[in-house]
Amino acid sequence: MKGLSAISILSKIEPLLLRVQKPSQYIGGETGSIVKDREKVRVSFAFCFPDTYEIGMSHLGMKILYGLINQREEFCCERVFAPDTDFEELMREQNIPLYALESLTPVADFDMIGFTLQYELAYTNILNMLDLAGIPIYAKDRGESLDKMIFAGGPCVCNPEPIADFFDFFILGEGEEVNLEVMDLYAQMKEKGASRSEFLCEAAKIEGIYVPSLYYVSYNENGTIKTVQPLENVPKIVRKRIIKDFDKVYYPDTFVVPFTEIVHDRSVVEVLRGCIRGCRFCQAGFIYRPFREKSPDTICSQAADLCRNTGYEELSLSSLSTSDHSEIDEMLTKLLEVTEEKRVSMSLPSLRVDNFSDALMEKIKRIRKSGLTFAPEAGTQRLRDVINKNVSDEEIMNTAEIAFSGGYFNVKLYFMMGLPTETDDDIAGIADIADRIIELFFKNPDRPRGKMVQVSVSIATFVPKPFTPFEFEPQATEEEVRHKQEHLVSSINPRNARRIKVSWHEFRISQLEGVLARGDRKLSDVIYEAWKNGSRFDSWSDRFKWECWEAAFEKCGIAPEFYASRRRDYDEIMPGDHLNYMVDKSFLIREHKKALRAETTQHCRKNCSGCGVNREVGRSCF
């Protein structure tokens, strides 16, 4: 498969493209894409997103790093996505290797090949992409030459151990600085003719770079981790990278604008990073600390640039919780001036229930009409206190009331099932909230006539994640989840049942996510076997095949329950304990104990909870 040139890739795929869905996703050439002369660059970088084009192209991190790397004349960054199954079949049949979209060059001809790990269920796609590229799947089989360096970044890298055997190195934390540093190092060492291991030893000295092969993991007889030993002169603990001056950090002034429709097809401005809330189930709320925000002026000028250069008709803001921006009113007012003048519509995801004001609601009402989404996450106040989702019952109802009087009639509610300390009463509380929201709608004299209120209740199975206070907790078992689902259905008031739509995630998918999230290196072989058995696109419920995984676990002699449904002691060594995400383990333990007592923790702006990030960064957060 190796040695195919771009021209021969083009001639090989042309006859196939009309036989597959959405062919323009496989051919590049979109406006905003950057095609460089590969002969003239020092380091070529294939940025791989381990899912389909329509999902990967919606991902903001890729847009940022793509623009950032291509800004440097001596580097090129090209995009690679997982082909959908119809095209994969044809690629395999015709011996077409995985290629990058800009120059249609085979991925195997790149110096550096980086994956972004956004969710655990994409792991089999990584293996499939490496295989389609003709690259050995296990890092140990890649020899000593420097090319085809396989690495990854993104949130899942906070516990990369289940996929450690497949990668040469990982990048921890935010990528805007460290990606360029590691590419600079690569350029130097490539020109010096260094070997792969020489490069990896040097790279491991850069803060935020974790080379898994330089750490030896030993296990206790019960299967838990005994020690993690650095083999060479590398740091015992690898610390994640953060951008200190977030207002000044690079942000692209244009995006690659796809021809075919993608999931999030619009301009996006990132308004803040980190989160002040500390919801105990939420990994992002801990691993992206500290909280930093951009000024309204920066946000507005970035929005204006993007609108002008992409031609998108819609603008969205990205953050974990946009309404926690300290200058949200000024920001929205200024942004609306920009968007109205340019006939751009604005959408606002991630708005929290509890700080909707009438004034803010007025502004938002000018923007959208169709429906509102809230995430109470748990059905009773007690359980919301356990998970530190500081939203009161009254606030949920207030928000619904404001929404209804604002002309909304569709409400979408997000909950979790299987949370620590959860009882049947908490489950019944979910049905109760949905019911009371419907009653509220009918009490409103100004409700829109002829429109039927609809409450959609979307239930996720709780997955304990590393670097959260719930990393010690067992995940609910299949029997427990089934019981909870039945209890929820039977708790819904029959009078309003037709106005309440309940949906939930497939248990096995959540369980697998739980296994991979807190797994260790023993799982690499399981992932390999599952992929061999045909697993890919595991996050898509219509393509997920539990039997492929079941057979893989069995063959490797590993029980998924060991990882998913086992309670961990506070002193157990977690697979990612040699990685420093700037929040102290002692803080997580403290938060876990408070959770069990149903005690809340105030948000960071009100009161510092002492997570340790300010010490790591060397300054206070606010």
Binding site: S24, I27, G29, T31, E261
Partner: protein, 218 residues
């Protein structure tokens, strides 16, 4: 001052894989990038006043695509052309901008170049001549209301055939109006049904749009 501008453009190379629906969205975004004073429809959901002359099949190239732009203020044809050219994706190039002459509904025919890559183009030409000199070429055409029989013979005008070293190049004129419309791929696939007929992945390029009188559409 409201004005209407027609723009003739190509669709070649990678751009041939942009579907008609995607092309409309692509143009809307390009018009925004070009900051043209585009006119919007009245109403609750204003949309850009743009009209495409004739949809092109996915995978076809073209030297003769036409879009009509409604502008809310007058802008020279040169200005429209240069601003759009600067923002359009590779493969889509503006040929010219001009004042509309015909109504969109007057489009009746299109001319195509069809390249059939093959080992023996002389043999393929003989087979083609045999195929096209049949009295009738009946195919089933899928319509909204099921299938309909159609005689391609009476609808096809062969303008020329040319044998190249590794290809046969056909120039055809086919109906492309709102009532009768024949996709050249229909004819080519019918030709290929004969097992003796061997050629590779065919390439299509629309060369012209014509009015009823077979004069060029402007």
């Amino acid at each position: 001052m409201k004005t209407t501008v027609r723009m003739k453009f190509t669709k070649k190379g990678r751009a041939k894989y942009i579907s008609h629906l995607d092309l409309m969205r692509c143009f809307q975004r390009c018009i925004r990038r070009a900051e043209l004073p585009i006119a919007y429809s009245e109403g609750f959901h204003p949309h850009m006043q743009i009209v495409f002359a004739a949809a092109l099949s996915l995978g076809f190239e073209s030297d003769y695509e036409v879009i009509e732009l409604g502008l809310s203020e007058a802008l020279s044809f040169d200005e429209v052309q240069s601003r759009m050219q600067a923002v359009l994706p590779d493969g889509i190039d503006v040929i010219s901008c001009y004042e509309p002459k015909h109504k969109m509904g007057q489009i009746a025919y299109a001319e195509y170049d069809i390249i059939l890559p093959c080992q023996d183009s002389e043999k393929l030409l003989l087979q083609w001549n045999e195929f096209i000199s049949q009295e009738k070429i009946i195919v089933e055409k899928k319509t909204k209301r099921g299938f309909r029989e159609m005689d391609l013979k009476e609808l096809t005008e062969c303008l020329s055939e040319e044998t190249r070293e590794n290809a046969l190049v056909l120039k055809l004129r086919l109906p492309a109006g709102s009532t009768v419309n024949v996709n050249p791929a229909l004819l080519v696939e019918e030709f290929r049904k004969n097992e003796q007929v061997l050629f590779d992945f065919p390439k299509y390029c629309r060369k012209k749009l014509l009015c009823n009188e077979k004069t060029e559409f402007f």
